[in-house]
Amino acid sequence: MQTRRKTLKHSAIVAGLLATTGLFPHYAFAYNKPAFEAKSVAEVLKALGAGAPVESKDVTIGGPDIAENGAVVPLTASTALPGVKHILLLVEKNPSALVALFNVTDSVEANFATRTKMGQSSDVYAVAIMNDGKALFAKKEVKVTLGGCGG
């Protein structure tokens, strides 16, 4: 790990690079609004142009059985299969199901962890969309307790 001061100095340089050279034109991706506004898991996949999802043992969803607080629920999605285009994390009962979409390249493992908000107990999904458009998924239930005094 490096010190904070270094981070700051470097970040200024990197930010400058990004601004001046337009380093990532190829990756100037459009935020997929319809997918993030879709209500159900099926609608999300439709918005992304993927096929009907098939449950697969090769995809893994990780998360707690019970989340003490729905504001922060740690989730992981991964697969060791080759030819993955996107990895998605979804919460079925959220107002919009899609939480995050990761665009996979050959340089990273198809294995991501982040934290999500959950309004209530729900099934959570990890979906791997393959290069051929096939969608493979794994799901698990996460119970959300409010905890505390409610005061």
């Binding site: 019970i66 922060v72 962890a113 905890g147």
Partner: protein
């Protein structure tokens, strides 16, 4: 990932050995907490606090690098575990946050009374919390060792003890109503017994902490403030003698325990 698995294994072992009657729900909650501990957003506040300490700010355009937190001007390492303590220049027992206000006033020219009156999470109050987070982090895993030498330090402990047991408000609650015995829980939340040493990284030794419920960083002052709110007590002034004396009572009780601050809490 490996770290998470390791922590889970540890939590599982400790649970089976120490507390066989723990329900599946409690074990699942422990698993959840272990997952969160790996990647604590308090690090963001630490980074900000370090910046604020070194930055020239305020009407006097000065940094806090000459601030004396008890071990001499500028010493940050290991000071947190000796606070609250008596300071000769103010002739008061002060905790970390009230001492920071003193430094922000004397070195930087801020108005300490104004900052004390600012709501938590706003303006300079927000900065005090970030500073406290960074300073606490510089004592991580060190043992609490509050001085009880000066007469005012000894008196503050006794006053803090009386405040801890003071019953009042519509519910007759005191701090001890929740934190007065072993193995107590409100809903699913474990409540440390703070009438004695609750152990490493528990109770006083766990704040400042990041609260996942609201995504806020809470210093000890805010922790005590919200305890009093839930106790249905009136409002304790920021850095007031009551909050500092309570800090002395809790800190001295935690003598010898390791600080886990900045921690992460539900």
């Amino acid at each position: 990932m490996k770290k998470i698995v390791f922590m889970l294994a540890l939590a599982g072992l400790a649970a089976t050995a120490a507390n066989a009657q723990k329900s599946a729900a409690v074990l699942a909650i422990e698993e959840y907490r272990a997952m969160l501990a790996d990647g604590n957003p308090s690090e963001l506040f630490e980074a900000k606090g370090e910046d604020l300490w070194k930055q020239k700010r305020g009407p006097k355009n000065a940094s806090l690098e000459q601030c004396d937190l008890g071990q001499g001007p500028g010493v940050v390492k290991a000071v947190f575990v000796t606070l609250p303590r008596y300071f000769a220049d103010t002739n008061r027992v002060q905790d970390l946050e009230s001492r920071l206000l003193t430094c922000m006033e004397s070195l930087q020219g801020f108005n300490a009374a104004d900052i004390a009156k600012t709501p938590f999470g706003k303006d300079e109050q927000k900065n005090v919390t970030a500073l406290a987070t960074w300073i606490a982090a510089a004592s991580r895993d060190m043992k609490f060792n509050l001085p009880q030498v000066h007469a005012k330090e000894q008196a503050a402990y006794e006053v803090g003890k009386r405040l801890f047991f003071q019953r009042g408000g519509p519910h007759d609650f005191s701090c001890a109503s929740c934190h007065g015995a072993d193995n107590w829980r409100i809903r699913l939340q474990d409540l440390p017994n703070l009438t004695k040493n609750p152990g490493d990284g528990v109770g006083f030794a766990a704040w400042p902490a990041y609260r996942v419920s609201n995504g806020q960083m809470w210093s000890m002052q805010l922790r005590l403030n919200d305890c009093y709110r839930q106790q249905r007590f009136p409002y304790p002034g920021f850095g007031s003698d009551a909050t500092v004396a309570l800090g002395v009572y809790l800190g001295v009780n935690s003598q010898g325990s390791k600080s886990a601050a900045p921690a992460i809490k539900r």
